[in-house]
Symmetry: C2
Subunit: 251 residues, 2 copies
């Protein structure tokens, strides 16, 4: 039985308990979960709440679900929280690595047409460009080029250039990232990349372009990250219930 504390929804707590049970192997790999009605009884909540919890596990690819039979445990794959996928710093820490970084360059200028479109700005609005190299255990692994609208750029520009995380201070200023759209492909190192990542110009890099919006739907960041090969891989789970991945022809 779980007690409501008001800070977190019941169904999220149930989901967390079920996650724990799955990774503890309480149901076995390839095993079956108890029926929704049984779970409802053991946790002392209604079936609807259980279904909300299970929808979370379903989206993470931890369990299947199919009409007519009990849910099957798919795997104990480590699942990151949203905040870990958004923040390089939190991601690294959750893996036991020591994240670091250094701001190489900050530029403020009028937004160019592409930037205006991506950040939904008006003509003449200013943007703030931040170029940063990021490290894991002191080894450079990624170059980050971010574009912020002016009011957010002000905050970023005011931070310590050696600050490990930008996301955390931004959140403290009330900037919340809730939706992120990623595009992943391959590109080649330019002179800046080569110098910062200690590789050669023209070497292939894994590229992640990212557009983040806040709860109101206003774009707050447009960023391009370039990773040294062999340092990271992106994983996506995708089910017929809720498809998130798509594949595009390169633009």
């Amino acid at each position: 039985m779980i007690v409501a504390d008001g800070r977190q929804a019941m169904y999220r707590k149930v989901a967390a308990e079920l996650r724990q049970g799955i990774s503890d192997g309480a149901y076995g790999s390839g095993g079956r979960l108890p029926a929704e009605s049984a779970l409802a009884q053991t946790y002392g909540v209604s079936r609807g709440t259980i279904r909300q919890a299970l929808a979370l596990l379903r989206a993470d690819g931890l369990v299947t679900s199919r009409r007519g039979t009990r849910r099957v445990v798919l795997g104990t794959a480590r699942v990151q929280t949203f905040s870990e996928t958004v923040s390089f710093t939190r991601w690294a820490r959750s893996l036991g690595e020591e994240p670091g970084g250094r701001v190489v360059d900050v530029v403020r200028r009028a937004a160019e047409p592409v930037e205006r479109e991506k950040l939904r700005l008006a003509e003449g609005d200013e943007v703030c460009l931040v170029l940063r190299v990021r490290t894991l255990s002191a080894v450079p692994v990624m170059v980050e080029r971010s574009v912020y609208p002016r009011h957010i750029g002000e905050i970023v520009a005011g931070l310590d250039p050696a600050a490990v995380s930008h996301t955390v201070p931004l959140e403290e200023h009330g900037v919340r990232f809730t939706d992120v759209h990623h595009t992943i492909d391959l590109t080649y190192a330019d002179a800046d990349d080569a110098a910062l990542l200690d590789c050669r110009v023209g070497d292939a890099l894994l590229r992640e372009r990212r557009r983040s919006t806040d709860p109101t739907g206003t774009p707050v960041e447009w960023s391009e990250d370039r990773y040294l090969p062999g340092t990271v891989a992106f994983t996506v789970h995708n089910s017929s219930a809720a498809a998130a991945l798509s594949r595009r022809t390169a633009s």
Copy 2:
């Protein structure tokens, strides 16, 4: 008002209508959706059903949602169906490209330990390896190396080597893909890749590794696809409501 035809759930039809409305610009970009209760009235269903429909749009990143205020339209980003993300053929056709391909090699042999683990097979079980090159408008863009458990391999091996799609015939044999886990990173062309993709050994390629399971949770395919740079990009949407993307240190 939408009429139930029994073949598709009401909430899916409502979701489809809302999608259409969004891409038609009926609500404007950055505009607001009508309230759930209003939608419930216009579609003649209960609020719960509307919420199920909106959850689909939310997962696709088409709308935000926030307590206290109406939903905001995020974008009209083209969203693929699950079947389009799983099948190269259907994906290509939906983009107006002409997909093609050729089976280069088929091997049957006892499963190696890695394969046994990925496909959850017992010692001594056989697997079927298929090497295939795939084209868009006759241009080679991807090399696919798939591993199937024996009973599925039989079906694949029996297909015409020039067959454009393997997914479609497999589905006709009752093989259903419902969950897919993707890992995306970068690798370098080996001799086979170079010959098939018309590039040089050592050239960088975008790699997608994929493990698919059927509704019972049984693995049905383990595949590694290697794309020529500049031909595809992977896109992922990720919201604090339902996070699907994760980033891993390379294994």
